[in-house]
């Protein structure tokens, strides 16, 4: 519905006849005097001026977030760094073209871990023997 249609719908024959003048009036110079008298009677108020945040305050959350992600990345790097060589070796072997290269890689990887364990075990035995010899 257009605005003109809406206006037409709002028109009432009685209201049309009456017009839009309500018949109210005010004392002479009322509005000019009102403004002056009102301004004279207004109390003092304290305005809290809005402080604009500095560039650092605005950027701080983003800097903190970036630092947090950097921290997480470094932590992950530290943990993944321990087995980095082994994984690299496994990855190289997995790229071989034999059909069972994946299984082979896992087996070789397990073997390497077992060898390491055996070496550690051997070291601890040797250390025990040495310790026993010292005690003697």
């Amino acid at each position: 519905m257009s605005q003109i249609d809406a206006m037409k719908q709002e028109e009432s024959p009685i209201l049309k006849k009456l017009g839009k003048e309500p018949g109210f009036n005010v004392p002479e110079h009322y509005f000019a005097d009102f403004s002056k008298n009102l301004m004279d009677s207004l109390p003092e108020v304290e305005i809290t001026e809005e402080v604009k945040p500095s560039r650092w305050v605005r950027l701080r959350p983003y800097v903190y977030m970036a630092a947090m992600f950097a921290g997480i990345w470094c932590t992950m790097k530290v943990f993944t760094g321990f087995g980095g060589d082994q994984k690299k070796a496994v990855k190289i072997e997995m790229t071989a073209d034999s059909p069972n290269s994946g299984a082979k890689a896992i087996m070789q990887d397990d073997k390497r871990i077992n060898d390491n364990a055996m070496l550690n075990y051997q070291d601890s035995i040797n250390a025990g023997i040495q310790k026993t010899n010292i005690n003697r």
């Binding site: 109210f24 009036n25 108020v45």
Partner: protein, 187 residues
């Protein structure tokens, strides 16, 4: 006495209102600019000139003392109209209590002495219209006054009264029907 002429730019005035050193002079501009529209809005609500004068003063004092709460999210005019309407309703309710009238009753008591009012120069038909408006429910009365006399847009009314445009159109339509039936019953 030469009258000081203000140039009124709402954006600048709102900015000035938020600074201690410029707030008072900016508010003087606001008073100068909004005294008449707010006065007529209030006058049509409370009918009597002296009552309208009191309510208008209260409106501006309330606006001034809570100027810190106005952050420019809404239009200044919307904010002032809201205060004026709330102050008018509070005033009418206080008057009802003083005159032992139930708050749920209509506002016809406001127009009882309209003929004798020093600041009313309307004819019989205008008195009748004021009586018809006075018996409308509060919301319909406000909507009718804003739309019929001020020709205010429904969108602006919606912001002031917190009611949907559709509901305001319906209120205005009902108000007109009631006024027409009042006239036909009292012919």
């Amino acid at each position: 006495m030469a009258k000081t002429k203000y140039t009124y730019d709402e954006e600048t005035v709102v900015e000035q209102l938020h600074h201690q050193d410029t707030a008072r002079s900016a508010f003087a501009k606001v008073v100068e600019h909004y005294t008449q529209p707010l006065y007529w809005q209030i006058r049509r609500m409370v009918i009597d000139h002296d009552d309208a004068n009191d309510v208008l003063q209260n409106t501006f004092i309330k606006a001034w003392t809570s100027i810190d709460n106005f952050r420019g999210d809404a239009k200044l005019s919307t904010w002032l109209y809201k205060i004026a309407i709330n102050e008018s309703i509070t005033f009418i309710n206080k008057k009802k209590v003083q005159n032992n009238i139930a708050l749920t009753d209509d506002n016809s008591f406001l127009v009882n002495n309209l003929e004798a009012d020093e600041y009313f120069n309307g004819d019989e038909a205008q008195i009748k219209l004021q009586k018809a408006i006075a018996i409308l429910p509060e919301k319909q009365r406000m909507v009718f006054n804003m739309r019929y006399y001020d020709e205010m847009k429904y969108e602006d009314m919606s912001e002031i009264l917190g009611t949907s445009v559709g509901a305001l159109k319906a209120s205005y339509h009902h108000a007109i029907k009631k006024i027409e039936s009042f006239f036909s019953e009292n012919d």
